[in-house]
Symmetry: none
Subunit: 170 residues, 2 copies
DNA sequence: CGGCGACCTTCACGATGGCGAAACAACCAC
DNA sequence: GTGGTTGTTTCGCCATCGTGAAGGTCGCCG
């Protein structure tokens, strides 16, 4: 995502526009002029005259933030079992495809084992342990995509992006 | 919330600590030294020598962001025992789930031990010590989320955000 | 002011059960 | 055959929860 450079205060109107459009922007503030203050994380400013490297550093941070926000989106699963997330993809076999459909419907929320069992095996679940095994397999398949399935003990499972829950010592 | 000023690169270790503790910080970068880059919205840097007003401006923005994030920390407990606070979450086992429900109902207010005991064990409390033990466990689980349970001696317990050390006046 | 007792904190231990994961076998598609 | 998918068995870890016990802190009372 491109970062816009804004002259201050001469381009104030353009700044207003960029803020409304949620475009990342770096404001160039001449000596002796007060910078416009905003808590917006997509906005930054720098005092002129400034080193090109310093401008580059701030632009880079703004870019990272913008792409970070952009990539916080829900993964996409099509009817053929192709799961796409941030450019990469994997193909899911039938059972895991059905499981993943439910997990995505309740993205970041808990899905009970019963619901998963019904989705994965509409004609009745074959064994008691099958679900566990398929969760393990699904986990391995999702890991390269930055997705992870968290266990919520005695309640079910939860699909979210990457991070691992902090273990607590007892 | 206080913004910490960090010398770079001499105070690198302190910076690591502040990042982990999610303390807002402004990094002071001498001439000719590359600033540390981070997309963290609670971090900013400024090139030395810097005008006091410019430092003040950046500190202020960081303060605004920190308080904004802090205020967004409204704990949310769902029916599955999932406790969410500002993006992060932990799953609470049945007993702690019931205890937490009462503590959240009376957020920032004192809840008596009797009320907690009734909520946690509707069929009668099994032992005299059980509640204490579960409070300890709940405390450890909440700490990573920035929540803490305070003891009000002979009155009960109180749930609030992040523990603050308050010295006793004499 | 010193000590007692109530209240609170924390650890360690064992029982129980949920869950993870490897290994194996059967099956199917190409 | 070769490789991918699915179900089963089996072993064992570890989270949860109650219990006992060892301090620690604080208020109150003699």
């Amino acid at each position: 995502m491109k970062v816009e450079l804004v002259q201050w205060p001469s381009e104030e109107q353009r700044l207003t526009q960029l803020r409304r459009d949620e475009v990342p922007r770096l404001i160039l503030v001449p000596e002796g002029v007060a910078p416009p203050l905003s808590a917006d994380v997509l906005e930054d400013w720098i005092r002129l005259p400034a080193d090109d490297d310093d401008i580059g550093s701030r632009v880079r941070v703004l870019t990272d933030r913008a792409t970070g926000i952009r990539e916080a989106r829900v993964p996409d699963l099509d009817e053929n079992g192709l799961l796409r997330v941030s450019g990469r993809w994997v193909s899911l076999p039938p059972v895991e495809h059905r499981l993943m459909t439910v997990l995505l419907d309740r993205y970041r929320a808990v899905v009970s084992r019963e619901a998963l069992a019904r989705a994965g095996w509409p004609d009745g679940i074959p064994g008691r342990n099958v679900l566990d095994v398929h969760i393990v397999r699904l986990r391995r398949r999702l890991a390269p995509l930055g997705l992870s399935i968290q266990t919520v003990r005695s309640r079910g499972y939860l699909l979210e992006e990457g991070q691992v829950e902090v273990p607590v010592a007892n």
